[in-house]
Amino acid sequence: MKVANIIFSVLLLTLMSWILYLTLQIPKSPNPNIIGPSYVPLVYVWVGIVLAVFILLNSIREKTKEQFKLDKKFFLYVGIAIVYMILITIIGYYISTILLLIILFLLLGIRKLPQLMIIPIAYSLFVFIVFEKIIALPIP
């Protein structure tokens, strides 16, 4: 956990530094008496950098035995979610959702065919009838 904590703190510090770089590019107020669009974010980002440094120092000092392992499956699921969202724009919400549910159910260990077929279709019908027809929500 310790190494992971340090890495995460460094990432946060990097994020803050990047935001600082972006903030410095926002034009300053022409009138020194009136604070402009970049003033408040600049205060935030400097405070953020100080906090991130302290958190990094804490994560170096602390002693924990907890193990943090980033499950590689995480990237698989994020990947599936990305593909799902792209598929929606191509083949529509309903077909992509049925595919998504079947694939995820399979990955999560459901092997019974009736469950694999009925739940995705029932869910899609539910969305169609309740969300699209009754509530009239825009469906992607």
Partner: protein, 497 residues
């Protein structure tokens, strides 16, 4: 006030509204009972369904879910010792031993009774506290509003996590995210990377949906437990007796009182209230010897308290427009989507909304009692549903929700991005509540700060010469410094000893 309430009764007592409340109670209890999903996820997921409704109906539905989810959390806490919401953690202490002894019916009975009384109690608190606070806040100018935002945010940052540094950094991150888009005063684009979609900033609903719902979905995928603990015995239908009810009453009232007032404090929600109530109830409970071994009062105290926080939490939201918890931030987002800005002027423009909400909450508590107590066996079946079915469905509902706010796929990608961010932040023990609050309050804080400085010709003294803003800022600073001081003193003490 009486005429307004009578008028509100005629608005709420329509078949449509009653059905909405019934639906809300049902959905709320289910979402509350499912481990990992609480009132924040519940209200966020249901927001899209409220788009077509009038604001009053929408708010009542959301608050019904909020209220009943606080009860729902106790079902899983009692039956399988896995609290459905963080606010029900204290309920496990005495609720689960009762189940093990074979009295889950009594535990659930104590919980639903306490929740109902807590809910009704807090409705009155909401009714009587909001209007005076509104009248007080009518005089607020930009300096006071900035100080109020600063105060609320700093309390949330220091109370919501174990580490105050992490909480503060999350608040800063939220404030920076809220700065994305056109500058509110000059129209200068900030952090937009030339993207057209980012000019309006990050929409609150997709961000919340990502941080709370999608991150939890990933968590469920990776820690799937299909083998939910089987219930030992069949749930006995034996409900609490009148005598048991009477013996719990003092504890229920004390806890409702604690819950309502803890709820008002930004950052302190149901989980803090329920622990305080549980600890305090030990003093006055008639069955204090049984604490930890299955005391009915030990179930009633946290459950009355966590439902009682709901009305308390709505007080600052409605009267000042300042949410103090993630769930009230969702409600603020929902109200803004309906074109309403809560705050002191709400009464002039939408008095019916407020009184309708009061009546709606009252009916919600009644419905919650019946739905909760009559369908006990149904809840037991429901919680044995594996998360495997639920997580993928939540992911696809989130897509609809994120899309429907502006009809943009862009917002769906935002949701996924925040989902990944939320997953990592939770893994590394960074609290999410400060980001959400900062996201909601950031724009208002910055505009008020800059307006105040325009009024004072650039002098920062305006925040210190104004008594209300001075007090709020001092309390906020104190919340930052007090844990550090505490650390210094305790470490000195330990060195001495």
């Amino acid at each position: 006030m009486i005429e307004n309430l009578i008028e509100a009764i005629s608005i709420v007592f329509t078949l449509k509204m009653l059905l909405i409340i019934l639906l809300g109670s049902f959905v709320g209890i289910i979402i509350g009972a499912l481990p990992g999903l609480g009132p924040t996820v519940g209200t966020t997921l249901i927001i899209p369904a409220t788009f077509g409704m009038e604001p009053t109906a929408a708010l009542i539905l959301l608050v019904a879910i909020y209220m009943t989810a606080e009860y729902g959390g106790s079902i899983t806490a009692i039956l399988i010792s896995s609290p459905g919401t963080t606010a029900a953690t204290a309920t496990v202490e005495d609720g689960y031993p009762l189940t093990q002894k074979g009295y889950p019916g009594k535990a659930l009975g104590a919980s639903i009774t306490a929740s109902t009384i807590g809910g009704i109690f807090t409705t009155f608190i909401l009714l009587f506290l909001t209007i005076p606070l509104m009248n007080f806040a009518l005089k607020f100018g930009p300096a006071e509003y900035f100080a109020l935002g600063f105060f609320g945010l700093s309390l949330v940052a220091s109370l919501s996590g174990k580490s105050i540094l992490k909480g503060l950094l999350m608040a800063i991150l939220g404030l920076l995210i809220s700065s994305i888009g056109l500058d509110p005063l000059t129209g200068q684009p900030r952090y937009t990377f030339g993207s057209f979609y980012l000019l309006e900033g990050i929409s609150i609903i997709p961000a919340l949906m990502g941080l709370y719902a999608v991150s939890e979905v990933f968590n469920m995928f990776l820690t799937q437990n299909n083998t939910i603990k089987k219930l030992g015995k069949k749930v006995s239908k034996q409900f609490i007796t009148l005598k048991e009810f009477k013996s719990m009453l003092p504890v229920i009232f004390q806890s409702s009182f604690i819950g309502s007032f803890v709820g008002v404090i930004p950052g302190a929600g149901g989980s803090i209230a329920s622990w305080i109530a549980y600890q305090q109830s030990k003093r006055i409970a008639k069955d204090k010897k049984d604490y930890g071994k299955g005391a009915l009062s030990g179930v009633a105290a946290p459950e009355a308290a966590n439902n009682a926080t709901v009305g308390g939490a709505l007080v600052p939201l409605l009267s000042l427009g300042i949410p103090g918890s993630p769930t009230t931030a969702v409600l603020l987002g929902a109200l803004m989507l309906h074109g309403l800005t809560p705050g002191p002027k709400l009464m002039e423009t939408d008095a019916n909304l407020f009184y309708g909400l009061i009546i709606g909450l009252f009916i919600t508590c009644i419905f919650m009692f019946f739905v909760g107590s009559l369908l006990t066996n149904f809840w037991v079946k429901l919680i044995s549903l594996p998360q495997t079915f639920i997580a993928p469905i939540i992911l696809s509902i989130s897509v609809i929700g994120a899309f429907s706010v502006r009809n943009l796929m862009f917002d769906v990608y935002i949701t996924l991005g925040f989902g990944v961010l939320g997953y990592f932040l939770k893994k590394f023990n960074f609290p999410l509540a400060p980001i959400v609050l900062a996201l909601v309050l950031g724009g208002m804080m910055e505009s008020n700060l800059r307006r105040a400085l325009l009024i004072s010709d650039g002098s920062w003294m305006i925040f210190l010469t104004n008594p209300i803003s001075l007090i709020l800022i001092l309390i906020a600073l104190f919340t930052f410094v007090s844990p550090i001081l505490k650390n210094v003193f305790t470490s000195k003490k330990s060195k001495v000893s």
